[in-house]
Symmetry: C2
DNA sequence: ACTCATATTGGCAGCGCTGCCAACCGAAAA
DNA sequence: TTTTCGGTTGGCAGCGCTGCCAATATGAGT
């Protein structure tokens, strides 16, 4: 019983409305609204009276009501494949900084790399009438694309530029990354190259890197010698396991390309544990440019991607209501010491 | 000009309302509402007619309006210190799974470990009238606590149990973690112990671990020999740097406790690079139980924390509208090979 | 003192949906 | 035939705020 009483008291507290503030301040509702949003004109003493009442009553504006009444929503919806893959927290981090500065609010949901789930979650997001929906890459179901197009809200596709954008795209070319990785290894003189990766049907961006990587090797007349694809998400452990399996099958590799740095670190540790010397016996090349790659005894050779910047720029474009466009942030090849 | 026309078309598309669906289906608004929420009673043929109209018009319910009209909001607000520290993405991951299953929506913002910012962001969150606000730990400003208490919405404090909860708390005791870490090292025979950590004023949970760790050493009559605190967030690079500095000052340490696994990995790599043999010359102990700690050549000795489970349980309690309580999920000491 | 432009202000109709309530519709019961 | 009752259904008043517009106040100019 004291529980329910408490609840009621809470409810009462929570329920201070604009109208009550207006009454307490002895002004009209619209005046309070103008003062709080600092929009329109009002006198200094009015402002003080209103602020005093707000303070006294502990008024917290109701954004739900505000959003319904006005037009734009200041909500930005992220539909991301994963939170385990550090890429996405990094993007969110970049975006949230900019969004918070501009009083936007981020909402998110996680698709687990499942296009069907992406469609369902995108629909759920649209129900909040966000200012923008941000998703990873270009590979969406027909339904998702149709829905987004029809929604009238801005759409930002992140971390990929190899395809046609629905509206805005911010990122870099994964195909170019795969190509440059291969070119680098070839330039360094490696010829018997293998690959260790995770599920490419789900992570289509990793798939694009892999296929361009292979094409580049083919064009050079030194095709990929062997590859090992592990089910499940990328992880250090899987990288280690993958390299172990790959080397069991292909003993004479001189370099291995990994789907990303997590996997590459696993490979690095495998070599460390097995006494395989890097890069003289085996070279290792990753993707992402994680900080940890610089802290291991031999800095990891990899490609550094602008993950945080991708989030920042995407958010800035939305805040500024920029026209449709594709922004190429590029990437940086880190020579490192492992290849 | 074609741009503005496009916008208008979009707007038109986006603007399908419940009333239009009702009209198209030849039924009343409330009937459509009942069918869509599968709540209340309606006949089978009515259901079909409504669903057909929804499909035909591409209707997406407006949750903003729905939330305003009804009472509870199905929004859960996360106010987290950081997205760089993997702890928080892990918690979000656990929570988002449960929330999505229950048609709740997660919103978040990042305080950057700043209590003042936390207060501002919590206020902004409250404006969305969420069903619950989830924050890290117990250390909030007076203002934050007061505001949350007055808000009438559920509050969940995560990842800490050493203090008094506002409402619900889910996590484990950081003090116990510090204590057990020290006890483990002592049990193993280490006596000249050092510490490498990051900014403890900001990360108060790391601070609690550190102080309990020291108390335990003191109680044993073998106080901490030296410590090195680095400004800025925890990172592998800082761990490496920290250990380097620590060893420069205290040459005869036999074990080092790190504020978390990131830092510990940095220390591990430093030893690897310097040829310091682990654990015979120097033992290393971390905190968090990251996967990568198991993949390095010598598995890291550490404490594994239930980060994902913390998010899951917290979300479940909110979904179930559980009464105020503190849930201790405990942690697991991993003996590893580095201490 | 009188006029007119400008600065302030309040009233009120929605935004799109939910919740309540009255109305309606057979079919079973009287 | 009339009454009864549960299953269905539509109408409509808000939820709390914003945007528009009319009303009032202020102040400078003559």
């Amino acid at each position: 019983m004291s529980g329910s009483k408490l609840t009621m008291e809470f409810k009462h507290q929570a329920t201070v409305t604009l109208a009550e503030v207006a009454e307490a301040a002895g002004v009209g509702e619209s005046t309070v609204s103008r003062v709080l949003r600092n929009h329109g004109s009002f006198s200094g003493k009015t402002r003080e009276r209103v602020m005093a009442a707000v303070e006294r009553l502990g008024y917290v504006p109701n954004r739900i009501a505000g959003t319904l009444a006005s037009t734009g929503s200041r909500l930005v919806a992220f539909v991301i494949p994963s939170l385990s893959n550090i890429v996405f927290p990094d993007v969110l981090r970049g975006a949230s900084t900019v969004l918070e500065e501009n009083r936007y609010q981020a909402v998110f949901s996680v698709t687990d790399y499942d296009p069907g789930k992406e469609e369902a979650l995108a629909a759920a997001m649209l129900a909040w009438r966000p200012a923008a929906v941000m998703l990873a890459g270009y590979e969406h179901t027909e339904g998702t694309a149709k829905m987004l197009r029809a929604s009238g809200c801005r759409v930002v596709e992140l971390l990929d530029l190899d395809g046609d954008a629905l509206d805005i795209a911010v990122g870099f070319s994964n195909r170019a990354a795969g190509r440059e990785s291969a070119a680098f290894l070839l330039r360094r003189g490696y010829r018997r190259i293998g690959y260790v990766g995770h599920d490419l049907n789900r992570d289509t961006r990793a798939g694009k890197r892999f296929s361009s990587f292979c094409e580049t090797l083919d064009a050079n007349g030194t095709p990929l010698v062997a590859h090992e694809i592990l089910a499940g998400p990328s992880s250090v452990e899987n990288g280690r396991l993958g390299l172990e399996r790959l080397l069991a099958r292909a003993t004479d590799l001189d370099a291995v390309y990994f789907s990303n740095d997590d996997m590459a670190l696993g490979g690095y540790f495998h070599c460390l544990a097995q006494g395989i010397s890097i890069p003289s016996q085996l070279a290792i090349f990753g993707y992402n440019g994680l900080d940890i790659g610089r802290a291991i005894p031999q800095p990891l050779s990899t490609i550094r991607t602008p993950r945080v910047a991708t989030g920042e720029i995407a958010a800035q474009l939305i805040v500024a209501n920029a026209p449709p466009q594709a922004v190429d942030l590029g990437f940086e090849l880190i020579e490192g010491a492992t290849a």
